[in-house]
Symmetry: C2
Subunit: 415 residues, 2 copies
Amino acid sequence: MMELEKLCALAKDAKYKLAGLTTEEKNEALFVIADLLKSESATLIAANEKDITAAEAKGVPAPLIDRLRLTPARIDAMSEGLRQVAALPDPLQDVLDEWDVPNGLHIRKVRVPLGVIGIIYESRPNVTADAFALCFKSGNAVILKGGSDAIHSNTAITALIRKGLARQGIVVEAISLIESTDRETTKQFMQMRDYVDVLIPRGSAGLIRSVVENSRIPVIETGAGNCHVYIDAAADPDMAEKILINAKTQRLGVCNCAESLVIHRAVADTLFPRLAKALHEKNVELRGDDTACAACDLVIPATEEDYEKEYLDLLISVKCVDSVEEAIAHINRCSTHHSEAIVTEDKEAAEKFLSGVDSACVYVNASTRFTDGFEFGFGAEIGISTQKLHARGPMGLKELTSYKFRITGNGQVRS
Amino acid sequence: MMELEKLCALAKDAKYKLAGLTTEEKNEALFVIADLLKSESATLIAANEKDITAAEAKGVPAPLIDRLRLTPARIDAMSEGLRQVAALPDPLQDVLDEWDVPNGLHIRKVRVPLGVIGIIYESRPNVTADAFALCFKSGNAVILKGGSDAIHSNTAITALIRKGLARQGIVVEAISLIESTDRETTKQFMQMRDYVDVLIPRGSAGLIRSVVENSRIPVIETGAGNCHVYIDAAADPDMAEKILINAKTQRLGVCNCAESLVIHRAVADTLFPRLAKALHEKNVELRGDDTACAACDLVIPATEEDYEKEYLDLLISVKCVDSVEEAIAHINRCSTHHSEAIVTEDKEAAEKFLSGVDSACVYVNASTRFTDGFEFGFGAEIGISTQKLHARGPMGLKELTSYKFRITGNGQVRS
């Protein structure tokens, strides 16, 4: 058995032990690990320094190096994240349903962990601790495959977490890190269906596409957000500007920010130039269709590709439509089904939009930026699912579980 | 755009219309189609005759020809099946959750259809009508890819269903049948991720494996059942015999019948020979480990492969264990995670089994044969899911849905 397969097999063995931990055992372990991250932060910073040096030598751009860096403040935040997950309710305590059938069988539908969760990510090293905490609290073993840039940091964080688990007498394979960071290993990992129950890619659209195309393990797609704000003919102009500017510019580079403005033609010559000016003042470049270009000279012509893009940048596409129905059809065609908003005072248009738009989160008169586990009151999240199978929208602890049926009888057989 | 892609694109367009149908519109259409199947049964029987003739010419074995045959009684049952689905509650009426967040946003979590469901099947032509009814009632469009042996029957059933839909003014692409039955088309179909939301294979283990390996669309695995009955040291002997015989022999060739007997070594020399004799009297061949062979001369030696097999035949594997823990470990290693039963009077052993066995349905003192949508009280089912993502166990109407969040505000933006 090759090394990767062995690692996956050990995680599978561990999942049966983890499913049996009590809430208290899990929470105590999270507290112990939270303390360790702080008391041994020097180890983490030293390991992180190696990643930073290597990244600088490779000429990695400064903003990416900043994302990579672990500071005492960031380690504190990571530690605090573990405590927050400990404070969340244990999803495995829920009985989802319970009933008797006429033949006397008693059926209980109860939550169970998914089992082994694989996470392939490119992002900051704090994901290592965050993802572990959510998977562990929901009774799962996690196998992490991080990016090569953060390998020393990820290895050090994993070692500290395992130290804490061992101290509590918990199977250390609750967390495993795949240390080889080449693409071939990633490909092999995606074939480990016998050991891994679900794969969650976290990162760029390219990473997610590659996982979807190559994985034999069931995948949950997260985080691709080509989000739309539709300004209806009946929009309140001030609210339209406030919501659009917030959705596009309050934070760039996140999956719930707006990438496209859809606007009713009835207000193309009136409200739109004001919105375009407000975006321009925030340094946002507008790329629009003929109507948008004609209505305002701040707009340059868009190509069809612009409407498919998640810019994550100071750019927005603009599409003019004749009706809320056309807006819905355009959004359903171009969106990644993450989050979309309508601004309108027309109740009928709002209802059509809520029903017709096929996205995880659909807003009336509010910014798309609220699609977030904390904003929804779920607590920390593993990602925002943009698919329909299993979970949709913010994925918290409950979304990291499955269920099973426990059936008790007294000798029933089928006739 | 090639023909297959066009068919998928039309189904995608249809899904948005289907999601908006009222419960009454859907039920009326199901009644109209149920009537049509009966009043135009001669058309179906004539089409089916072509399949039967072709199958006979190909030398298809008699039991398979019997499965293929449509009789007036089977058409009545198909028609009745549509009426039963009409009688089930509409899953899209459920509000799953609803709450306000401190900033004043109101969040509603509501059920929505999955969208376009692809079903690849090999089985009898009645699946065409059954699968349509479940997908349609839950608001989905369905694309069917049946086996070549049933192509004329499937085409005729689909045409009748579309006739009924058209009569009710409903988009006929609620059902589509891929008429080309070659493997290349199946492969292309499995790449249609832009149009198809989920793929459900129904059929042999080989078919399911091929779909899992080749599909880029999310898959729900159904129906592979290597089910175990574990007879504990503390089993009631009469109940053990009754449950084992029922689970193995009440109906052969179904996914919830037992394929393996696991037995505690403490009763290997006492209870086991009695069980072996009872199985033998039902013409079941036993393949066991050394202990089983030594305990009873009705047992021939098993190979490791026997423990992995879904025989669907008059065969059972036998494994002797020293404890309930060893039974659980053996089952978790070999099972397809469908249904497993323990027979015991020992409450602690029962609880360990219920918690420890990682299968969709786990039974204490009852036959595995109860894993079924009707037996559970769900009504008709599209299959028994053996995976953990999305749905597990019997999949009825609710399991053919996803959800979305409808969020209403009055100008909220994120700060």
